[in-house]
Amino acid sequence: MIRVVLPFHLRNLARVDGEVEMEIPAPITIGKILDALENKFPVLQGTIRDHGTLKRRPFIRFFACKEDLSLEPAETQLPAEVVSGSEPFLIIGAMAGG
């Protein structure tokens, strides 16, 4: 079971409490997690990555196992801890400064 943590506003938008859990066939990549997430919660389409280009929105960051994966390509396979479900895949709204 893959665990995904959404930022506060996207949890509200998707109307979920806590983490999202999804069954996703291997290999587990950033892109496949986002595909599965948007398939389960279509309201999230366009909020994490652009509708047309599927590029990550500028102020969204991806983390797993204390590593910043935001700049990694969508095909990047995730660590074994994420695949096993012992660690979540984190989607985070970047700090805005100020």
Partner: protein, 388 residues
């Protein structure tokens, strides 16, 4: 007795204010969509329970919300429980998909080069006068989109960007379509205005558009006196009984047109300053108009720290300050372009919101004012529904 519903979009959510026709005792609900910027929300003239809202965020982009019960509950169009029950009804999540038609194209950028169009947000939603499922959305970067299925999907009316859009250039506030006026006597005619772009009219339902800027003078921004595009139009307004008469608050100057925008004439008259953002028309008096003078393009607050609405009962040129109930010292708020509206009761109510989080109401055409909400986040937009 009639009821009034005031829809307030703010920097941190939406608020809905309700009162009976006396407009004295107000209830506030909200924040709806707490923490999100709500650029605009507006009810359908054809179904007052149908309200559209533009919810946006620098982090998460654009969301369209819709209520079918007067603002009690909200769904992104296409994802309501009813939609999910449909036979092929898995939601597609396209209610926030605003994609420019065809070649994206380019517009003038700050450095004089051409820059590709990039969708940023929806500034304004204008529901159809007759069909609750049809609405228009004004976008930044400037474009107009239309839905005919209640906001589930949107399609650009791309003819607008054939109107010399390579010469449009964003101002400091962004290049957005902020005004959409539907002609109640001619369903094929729509007026739109673009910040730092100008104003345009279609007479064929959005296929083709032409600039309607003759008579506008912007010598400091546009040295070419004949420039058709690039004027910084802040807002235009019309009265439904006389849709060929338009009123405009430009960056500087207040103007009117008596021929559907083909020619504009300045009517700033005795205003203390003719810089400002909103302009609106009294529902019962088509020649009575309201503006909120702002000191200058460099000082976005009222002159002398006195918040004054100015009213002209002669369609311009002769203006009187309306001050009763408004702060007359130490007031340094702004009133944004979409933050003024009127109701349609016999004694026309006038409403406006400030960047300081106040919403003011006058139940007597502007003679006196009361704060009906205070301490809200900065107000981006105010719309009013007069309910039976």
């Amino acid at each position: 007795m009639s009821k009034i519903r005031v829809l307030v979009g703010t920097k941190k959510g939406a608020f809905i204010l309700t009162a009976d026709g006396k407009r004295k005792d107000w209830k506030i609900s909200g924040p709806h969509f707490a923490g999100w910027e709500i650029y605009h929300l507006k009810g359908s003239p054809a179904d007052s329970n149908r309200i559209y809202a533009s919810q946006t965020s620098g982090w998460f982009g654009q969301i369209i919300q819709r209520s079918d019960d007067g603002g009690k509950t909200w769904n992104t169009p296409g994802s309501s429980p009813e939609d999910l029950k449909g036979p092929g009804g898995f939601p597609k999540g396209e209610s926030n998909k605003f994609v420019y038609e065809g070649e994206v194209g380019k517009h003038l950028w700050y450095d004089g080069t051409q820059h590709p169009w990039e969708f940023k947000r929806i500034w304004h939603i204008e529901p159809s006068l007759t069909d609750p499922d049809t609405a228009y959305a004004g976008a930044e970067d400037a474009a107009i989109f239309k839905t005919t299925n209640g906001g589930k999907t949107w399609k650009e009316l791309s003819g607008l960007r054939n109107a010399k859009s390579n010469l449009w250039q964003p101002g400091a506030g962004g290049m957005g379509v902020h005004t959409i006026l539907l002609d109640p006597k001619n369903e094929k005619r729509i007026y739109i205005a673009i910040s730092a772009g100008g104003c345009f009219r279609t007479d064929d339902g959005g296929k083709t558009w032409k600039p309607i800027t003759k008579g506008l003078k912007s010598p400091y921004e546009l040295p070419d006196p004949d420039a058709e595009v690039g004027h910084c139009v802040h807002r235009i307004a019309l009265h439904p009984s006389k849709p060929d008469v338009l009123f405009m608050q430009k960056h500087w100057d207040v103007l009117r047109s008596d021929n559907a925008g083909d020619q504009w004439n300045e009517v700033s008259g005795n205003l203390p300053t003719d810089f400002g953002f909103p302009i609106d028309v009294n529902f019962n008096e088509p020649e009575t108009i309201y503006v909120v003078p702002i000191t200058s393009d460099s000082l976005h607050y009222p002159p002398e720290g006195k918040l004054r609405v100015y009213r002209s009962q002669t369609g311009g040129n002769e203006w009187e300050p309306l001050t009763k109930g408004l702060p007359q010292k130490d007031c340094y708020v702004n009133v944004l372009r979409d933050a003024m509206a009127v109701d349609s009761l016999d004694k026309c109510g006038v409403y406006f919101g400030t960047t300081g989080g106040q919403v003011y109401c006058s139940a007597n055409g502007g003679n006196s004012w009361n704060a009906i909400a205070e301490h809200l986040p900065a107000v981006y937009s105010v719309e009013v529904q007069t309910l039976p």
